[in-house]
């Protein structure tokens, strides 16, 4: 026993040390954020950002990872983007063409309605080597993206643009012809450009080989070539799996960036993010970093101990929900679906587990979106009411059994709730919900799978037998066709494409959503989407849970930093970041 107690003593001493040091350092620490700086105070010389996700080669047409996209916005700019206020703004383009400003018009070509828009690139938009950004770059990107030998995930964005013509007199003026006259044509301006003066030669030489272009692209052969980038920063060092360094692009068209160097460092284990921050390995944690629980705890500590950081929470366009498999015989009964919905206490959920930092969800459109509504006359709102839930279940013939689980004949009222393994917040919510449903007599067992299995197989092929908990990251004003319409129910026939994993089929919704594409007035679109949401909340194909928040930790001296809450990250404004 002596030996064992020795171990115990040793461990306790170590733990004791930890605590004491913690306590000891607090009063002595000056409030001015000295903690972040093992290597000195934060200045405009250098900013080190921590991320937890892997990144890839920077070729913007080929990239798929969100960490790469995060950094891509530092070095490259698309024609248009959504800013932190949720508004569409031009970046490389002089203005967004619209019907009203005359830059876009609907034309009739061979009986088909098409849309022609004129995009003009900013006069002073240059690549990092001083060459101007021209229309030819857009044409070239499209050529690369539509080549069968280049592995581009999704081609729709590109194929919707039928043709681009450069003005022979002004190489910066281009005329786009869109395949169909859709109101959201300008959103296709988020495509990335490739520098044709550098990459065209590579593509000519290797483009005919399978994967030939991507292997030989300068983005993988010579990633620090400044000519590859047109954003506020250029890449100066790329170490896959470890870090990326950036330096200001002197040829940038906009406001000059303030930080002389930015380093993005990969910290793969989110448990050690805080340690890395506090020991000075990184200065801030990006929106691809802390889990909510960690952020809540760190926020308290920051405030309690005056650590010199701010923990930012920004409501985002990410919608956490449970997809119900409508082919499940029990779930076919709408009363059961409603009962499930009524027994979720969303208020308590967000207040207890998220301490109010994330918002309860009522449907698929997030409050970030101009299409959002919480008007009870327009959508059905399910307030927590276990008694109503029990009433509905009784009505549907589910009687309380001796073990506290309802039964109907031989059948038990039992479901399987699946989600991604290792996502702590989801697992927490899952267990919380299990407990809630148990109280009205519904048994829910959890079965979690690694993300790749869950998304690659289970939701994709509708292999969950009753419930799947996950999130959609939508952008503002995005037509939810791919998740709501009958055509998008994944089947073996359509190669499991489409995202309607509920199997929800409502002909009226189909009709409304398909008709929306050609509606150019904003108010009318809002009207349509509100009708769709009404059906959505009446039919309950999905149990809405909460809208997620984006989280970042920044040093208090860092100014002009704004989280966006949608898929165009905060790095879109990286040139404004500064220390005062």
């Amino acid at each position: 026993m002596k030996n064992l107690s020795l171990v115990l003593a040793t461990v306790l001493v170590l733990v004791g040390c930890t605590k004491k040091d913690n306590a000891g350092s607090t009063p002595g620490t000056p409030s001015a954020g000295a903690t972040s700086n093992a290597g000195g105070k934060l200045t405009n010389n250098e900013l080190k950002i921590g991320i937890t996700q892997e990144f890839e080669n920077f070729n913007p047409v080929i990239q798929t990872m969100s960490a790469t996209s995060y950094m891509q916005h530092m070095v490259n700019r698309p024609l248009v983007t959504i800013n932190a206020d949720g508004k569409w703004i031009p970046l490389l383009a002089k203005k967004i063409p619209t019907i009203e400003n005359g830059a876009a018009k609907i034309v009739d070509k061979g009986g088909k309605k098409k849309l022609v828009a004129i995009w003009e690139i900013l006069e002073n938009a240059n690549w990092g080597d001083g060459k101007p950004v021209i229309c030819e770059d857009i044409i070239f990107s499209l050529k690369v993206a539509s080549s069968p030998n280049v592995s581009v995930g999704e081609k729709e964005t590109y194929t919707q643009i039928e043709k681009i013509e450069a003005d022979p007199k002004n190489p910066k003026k281009c005329t786009f012809t869109y395949e169909k006259a859709k109101w959201d044509f300008y959103q296709l301006g988020t495509v990335w450009l490739l520098p044709s003066h550098l990459e065209e030669a590579v593509f000519k030489k290797f483009g005919a080989l399978k994967e030939g272009y991507e292997k030989n692209s300068l983005y993988s052969k010579d990633p620090t070539n400044p000519g590859l980038y047109n954003g506020p920063y250029v890449l100066t060092e790329l170490q896959l799996g470890d870090h990326v360094s950036f330096a200001p692009n002197t040829k940038f068209y906009g406001e000059a960036p303030k930080f002389k160097r930015i380093i993005v460092k990969l910290i793969p284990n989110s448990g050690t993010l805080e340690a890395n921050l506090r020991s000075g390995t990184i200065d801030m944690i990006s929106s691809l970093g802390l889990a909510l629980d960690q952020a809540l705890a760190f926020d308290k500590k920051v405030k309690g101990e005056n650590l010199g950081y701010s923990v930012l929470f920004e409501p985002s366009a990410t919608y956490e929900h449970i997809d119900l498999n409508l082919d499940n015989p029990i779930l076919k009964d709408i009363r059961v679906r409603k009962a499930l919905n009524y027994s979720i206490n969303r208020e308590e959920l967000v207040n207890s587990l998220f301490e109010g930092k994330q918002n309860p969800a009522i449907h698929a459109v997030t409050p970030k979106d101009p299409w959002f509504t919480d008007d009870p006359t327009k959508v059905v709102i399910y307030k927590y009411s276990p008694r109503e839930a029990e009433r509905l279940l009784e009505e549907a013939g589910w009687k309380m059994g001796a073990d506290g689980i309802r039964t109907k004949g031989e059948k038990r009222l039992s479901f399987t709730l699946m989600t991604t393994a290792g996502n702590k917040t989801r697992e927490l919510v899952q267990v919380y919900l299990q407990n809630k449903w148990k109280q009205v007599g519904i048994e829910v067992v959890s079965r979690n799978e690694p993300a790749r299995v869950f998304f690659g197989e289970t939701t994709k092929k509708r292999k969950f037998d009753s419930m799947a908990l996950f999130a959609w990251i939508s952008s503002p004003e995005n037509n939810p066709k791919s998740t709501f319409t009958t055509n998008n129910i994944p089947t073996a026939k359509n190669g499991w494409s489409g995202q309607n994993s509920m199997g929800w089929s409502n002909p009226k919704v189909d009709e409304l959503l398909y008709s929306m594409d050609t509606v150019f007035e904003h108010a009318k679109r809002v009207e349509i989407i509100h009708k769709v949401l009404k059906y959505y909340t009446e039919d309950v194909p999905v149990l809405p849970l909460y809208y997620r928040s984006d989280i970042a930790v920044i040093p208090t001296q860092l100014k002009n930093f704004r989280l966006t809450g949608h898929q165009f990250p905060e790095t879109n404004e990286v040139e404004k970041w500064t220390v005062e």
């Binding site: 448990g271 705890a297 267990v431 959890s446």
Partner: protein, 401 residues
């Protein structure tokens, strides 16, 4: 007479010697040797204590009134030795169940509660619900004042209004102690199951390879070598991510509730029998040439008898050691896989997944990470010492006579 006495004395002495010799059977020698190894004995006791605690988990649950599942989301991450109030939901549900079960008695209780001004509900039907919102002590006092046959049931309900958590609460306000106790069941269960199962597989493969030799031996040993040469961690990740439902035989054993545990056991077994197989093969190879095997062979013993009667007893001892060491290893592996999110799935608690869940919040709730870590450390050390002690005890060269 003298001679007679002498002979009796001699006979007695002989008998005594015989008795002494008889008394020192091999098990006894091993046992006494084992007792000398103090650390191993302590290890054995520690393991015993853990096994007893794990087995009596339901009893502890009954005794303390706590369980590993009930949540209290407004009291998350409480430090050890705290008393917390139960959530409104839990209270209301238990009251509702009580009302459904005793509709008549409830009316009497409601009336008394109101007439004695113990609660002041807006509607009389809410009297019991209002009572449920009281503190535990106040609620208890109220029961004392009213007259009903259901006093003990109400007391039981009131008792659940508050709970005391010796080791604090976790991220959902669940009792950490109960979760650790149930985690002991899972983690040690997995450890022991894997060690036993892989010992059996190893014994079988090793015995067949060693006894028959030739082609079978070469084949089996190459398979063993091949499996040994696979990098364990990546392979475990691949297999853990594999969909075992695709394999028809296994899909029949798997049910949704136990899938993650069974899968883990299967995976760990698949990759831990090789060292036992090598060990067994080695000893059987040397046994095969020994005289007593030859003798029984000439007497016409079948292969089966030869292997099970004569060879197995001789390899049991070294196997026992590798089983004990294997338990510790499997517990550690379960924890490592949990670190990658591929271990046992929640809400089933295991030391590994408790530790994994806590690691992100090691500053905020250090106890949550320290406790399962310490338990893993203790139990694995104990198993290692036990194995060490057994090894010393059965090693003929190390015998201290």
């Amino acid at each position: 007479m003298n001679t007679a006495q002498n002979t009796t004395q001699k006979a007695q002495q002989k008998a005594q010697i015989a008795k002494m010799e008889k008394a020192q059977t091999i098990t006894q020698i091993v046992y006494s040797q084992f007792k000398e190894h103090k650390a191993a004995v302590i290890g054995a006791y520690v393991i015993l204590i853990f096994v007893v605690v794990a087995l009596s988990a339901p009893l502890i649950e009954k005794f303390t009134g706590l369980d590993a599942e009930s949540q209290n989301v407004f009291n998350r991450y409480r430090p050890p030795m705290t008393r917390v109030k139960a959530g409104t939901d839990v209270r209301e549900t238990s009251i509702q169940r009580f009302i459904d079960a005793n509709p008549e008695e409830v009316l009497i209780i409601q009336n008394q509660l109101i007439s004695q001004q113990l609660v002041k509900p807006i509607r009389p039907e809410d009297a019991l619900y209002d009572w449920a919102q009281l503190d535990r002590t106040k609620a208890m006092d109220a029961i004392d004042l009213i007259d009903t046959s259901k006093k003990s049931e109400l007391r039981a309900i009131a008792n659940r209004f508050e709970s005391f958590h010796i080791l604090g609460t976790d991220e959902l306000g669940r009792d950490v102690m109960m979760r650790l106790i149930y985690g002991t069941r899972v983690s040690m269960g997995v450890g022991i199951l894997v060690a036993l199962a892989s010992a059996l597989i190893g014994l079988l493969v090793g015995a067949v390879a060693g006894f028959y030799g030739g082609f079978i031996d070469t084949l089996l040993m190459r398979v063993t070598d091949a499996l040994l040469s696979l990098p364990l961690m990546p392979v475990l990740i691949v297999v853990a991510a594999d969909d075992l439902q695709k394999i028809p035989f296994i899909s029949r054993i798997l049910t949704s509730g136990n899938e993650s545990i069974l899968k883990l056991v299967l995976i760990l077994c698949l990759f831990s029998w090789m060292s036992v197989a090598r060990l067994v093969r080695g000893s059987i190879l040397s046994l095969r040439e020994r005289e007593f095997i030859l003798a029984s062979k000439t007497l016409g013993a079948t292969d089966y008898t030869l292997i099970t009667r004569h060879m197995f007893p001789n390899v049991i001892a070294p196997m026992l050691v590798s089983v004990t060491l294997g338990v510790g290893e499997s517990i550690l592996f379960e924890a490592a896989l949990s670190f990658l999110g591929l271990g046992i799935q929640p809400p089933t608690p295991s030391w590994g997944n408790m530790l994994f869940n806590a690691q992100e919040l090691i500053y905020q709730a250090p106890f949550l990470a320290i406790l399962p870590g310490l338990l893993i450390l203790f139990v694995t050390i104990s198993f290692n010492y036990l194995g060490d002690g057994l090894q010393d005890a059965i090693d003929p060269k190390a015998m201290r006579r």
